[in-house]
Each structure stands twice: as structure tokens, then as C-alpha cells.
Subunit: 272 residues, 2 copies
């Protein structure tokens, strides 16, 4: 999926929301456990309830690998069920030497047909390049994450720069605004200015809306660009907003509510 | 598997060799393609030919995920075939927030029953702790890798320290010599002194013997400690040393040759 398509889809759907399908079998409505593949049955209903209000789904691989080859099947079925115009992110956080990265790239981009994958930058350029060689596919590089451990290394200071700034500065030369995005935690609004100085035009994937403490108004301030430049993810806040038999209605309302906030932001900023 | 067991097994087998099962279906002997699970059939034969000369197997997840749920089954069958006294490493290079790390830990340590997993440090402490909470299981943290991209970030300098030194210094407080090892590339002998100053007693996993340019004599210099402290990995050099119908004989000879070199090193250093 190319950049223009993503931007026009955001404008059309008046939403830059990504729904994170971090499906935990212990948290889904009980009646779904009677099906042979409860994970897929839940995802299917979440997709039905949210697909008009979001432009992306992010699948956290931890939640599928957990169930072994059965989890892999749920993943494949879910991917096939997602409408074609929606941007599919593998939240895999991989990062390995060239040899192994090539195999991961092939798995995620060719076999599973994801549009994008999250990667860890620690092993450097040759661990990322095999993914950037695919046309209309995206690398989303971890830079400043929302978790408390971000302070351990990402916020280490080199002279006047944080490590995550060095990572953005160096890695942004490996790709371009058409194949490279960055993960920035929703609760990192103090750093948005610094980040936008380095990469004014790149898309950022912002996880943590809701549960990890990020508010949509905070997230867009000093961060939105002329091409929007933001994909904001919410997982648990949407998925588990209700767990009775009528959960789909609540999930749809919750998602519509976020979409409406995003629509207002896009209007207020003369983007639509 | 605990530290004492690993050390006594090294002394008993006179080897600190790990064989990397990075099994690529395009490189295995052709006759194996007639079996329903060629990956497992190959691994089984490699294990038969090498198990007396090594103390560990490392399975690179990239090579199994590549084949989807079929690959997962090959992985499980291979793990079940590995003798109980051999240290099983998941070369997965994962690293995610606590929530997801818990699920990865459960997958790799409980369901798959690996003894150890390689992790990327970039997301900090809360991405590593869920793995360290398992008794007799190990985290092997990426620190200074053998690939060219290591220079991009791992060798960035903070005042007088490299990033990888900061990572070792900080992360070594999260665990101890009984549950934490580090990945150091075989071709990084220039840095062994610095590393051993920071972590004199930790085990290091050293990949890259053979193909990535590391020689065993170089690897042990300034690096071996009283409890050996090294697990040295070879993958391609062993696996693909021959690909005709008699490959097992060549593989066994190649592995025995490495074991003999290791035995001499252990003798010369009065460890056995």
C-alpha cells in the first residue's frame, strides 16, 4: 500500500485510527469459546464493528505465537478477513542479521501479505534493508516507546542527543517517507517537537491511545503534518470495552467516538 | 537448566559448542525432500551426528516462521528430539512491552520448553523481566553483534563508552550470572577485554564461528573464565558442510574437529 493511498483513505474515512488486534482468549466474551477458533471469531466481530471507523489493523504477533500453529492459523484467517483497503501492520518487533531478516521479510510481506512490520533498530542497517527492498511495503521502526523501560536506553543522552534521536537521524537515511515510519509512544508528547524537527514528513505510528495514557488531543499537537503523518493505535480500550453477548455494539460505539474526535481534528486543521 | 549443569556438561563433553539449526530447505540434501517434513528429517540427522560433540542447539526462529504453521510443527518435533541434557536456545531476538513479553515468555519457556531465548535490549527493563522471572531459564541479550550494522548503534560512543557497554552495564543489574547471558559476535575480539571487565563471570553466546569470520583461538583469548563462560555457535559451517547422501558422516567429522579444538583449549587452560 503506498503513501498516497494511506493519506487518501484517511481523508475519505475521516480517521487515522489503527485498531490493535491483541486478542487475549482470557478476555473475550465467553460465548465465543464454543467456536473452534475463538480468536478468529472475536477478531471477525471486532473487524465488522470497527472497519468503517479505522484505516489500519495492527496484529501483535505475541498474541498469536502464544497459541502455536493454531494461533498462526487464526492470524492467517484474520488477515484474509480484513478488507483490502485497510493497512495491515505486523507488530512483530523483529531485528536480525541480513540472512534471517530476508526470511522474516519474505514471511511477513510475501506469505502473510502484511503491508508493514514493526522492527527493532538495535542490529543496524543490514537488519532493516531486506524489508525496505519491497515496493509498497513499510518498515515501522521502534524509536521512543511508551513503556517505562524506554528510559533505560532510548532516553540515554549522547552529548545533547537522546539515543532515540540518533536512531531516527541515522535510520531515516536508509529509507524515505514512502517506506519508513516510526513508533512513538502516545505518552511521549514532550518529545514530539524534537521528533518532528528530524522527520517532519514521516508517518508516525502512535500506540497507547487509552490504556497507556495517551490522549488524542495531546497526540496531535505539534505532531500532525500536512499529510496527517499519524496513525494512532488503540488496542485494549476498544477490544475489551465490553464482554457480554452485545459487545459488538459497544465496540462500534467506542470506535465511532474516537473516529468523530479524529474527524474534528482533521476539520480543525483544514486537512479535510 | 541451571548454570552448574551447563558447566559440568561442558566439562563432561569437553565441548562448549552450540550447533545452530538454521535449516534452509534450499540447502539440504535433495533426498530429504521426499519426506513429509524435510526440515525435521534434516534436523534429526544433524542432531544424531552432532549431539555427542556439542552442549547446545540454537534454533533461529526466522527459519521456522518462514514455513508458517508447518514450520512451527517442524520446530516442535525438533525440540522434542533434542536430548534432555542439551541446552536449547530460541534465537528469537524478541523485545516488547511487559504485556507482550509475558506472552512470549510463556510461549518459549512453557509451551516450547526452550532453556533460553535471545532478546533485543532496546525497549528496556520491563521487556526483559518477564523472562528473567522463570527459574532455570535464561535470557541471552544482544549486545555486540557480528554483522556490519552493529556499527550503526551498538558502537555509538557516549563519552568514553560504547552503547553496547552501557547496555551490558545497565542490564547486568536486572539479572545475574544464573539467568543472564550476552550475545557477542565472534569477530569482535577487539572488544572482549572491555566486555570481560564489565561481566567477568557471565556466560557469553558467541555466534559466527566459521562463516562470520570468527576463529576459535581468537574467541577464547581474553574471554574464557574459570567456569568457561563461553558457548560458541556454528551454524552454516556445520549444517551445509556436505549435501550428498552421506552428509551425516561429513557433518560428524566437522563437529568432532571443532570439539577436539575445544577440548585442547579446556586442557591448556586447566579447566578439565
Amino acid at each position: 500500500m503506498n503513501r498516497n493511498f494511506i493519506i487518501s483513505n484517511i481523508k475519505k474515512k475521516k480517521s487515522f485510527l489503527c485498531v490493535g488486534l491483541d486478542t487475549d482468549i482470557k478476555k473475550i466474551p465467553k460465548f465465543l469459546l464454543d467456536y473452534s477458533d475463538p480468536i478468529f471469531e472475536f477478531n471477525k466481530r471486532i473487524i465488522d464493528s470497527t472497519k468503517n471507523y479505522c484505516i489500519s489493523y495492527k496484529l501483535n504477533l505475541a498474541f498469536y505465537e502464544y497459541y502455536g500453529s493454531k494461533g498462526y492459523d487464526s492470524l492467517v484467517k484474520t488477515l484474509n478477513y480484513i478488507p483490502k483497503d485497510i493497512f495491515k501492520i505486523a507488530d512483530a518487533k523483529r531485528g536480525d542479521i541480513g540472512n534471517s531478516s530476508k526470511m522474516y521479510a519474505k514471511s511477513f510481506f510475501e506469505y502473510l501479505n502484511f503491508d508493514a512490520i514493526t522492527l527493532s533498530p538495535y542490529m543496524g542497517m543490514d537488519s532493516i534493508i531486506p524489508f525496505l527492498e519491497y515496493k509498497n511495503k513499510w518498515v515501522i521502526l521502534l524509536s521512543l516507546t511508551s513503556n517505562i523501560g524506554a528510559k533505560d536506553f532510548q532516553l540515554l543522552k549522547f552529548d545533547e542527543y537522546y539515543l532515540f534521536e540518533k536512531i531516527i537521524e541515522i535510520s531515516s537515511k536508509w529509507g524515505n517517507i514512502d517506506n519508513l515510519m516510526y513508533v512513538i509512544g502516545a505518552n511521549r508528547s514532550n518529545y514530539f517537537n524534537k521528533i518532528r524537527k528530524l522527520i517532519p514528513n514521516h508517518f508516525l505510528l502512535i500506540p497507547g491511545l487509552g490504556f497507556q495514557g495517551g490522549k488524542i488531543e495531546e497526540i496531535v499537537k505539534n505532531n500532525l503534518n500536512n499529510d496527517i503523518g499519524l496513525i494512532v493505535n488503540s488496542s485494549r480500550k476498544i477490544l475489551y470495552s465490553s464482554n457480554d453477548n452485545f459487545f459488538q455494539k459497544i465496540v462500534a460505539e467506542k470506535t465511532l467516538d474516537i473516529q468523530k474526535k479524529m474527524e474534528k481534528i482533521l476539520l480543525d486543521n483544514n486537512i479535510i
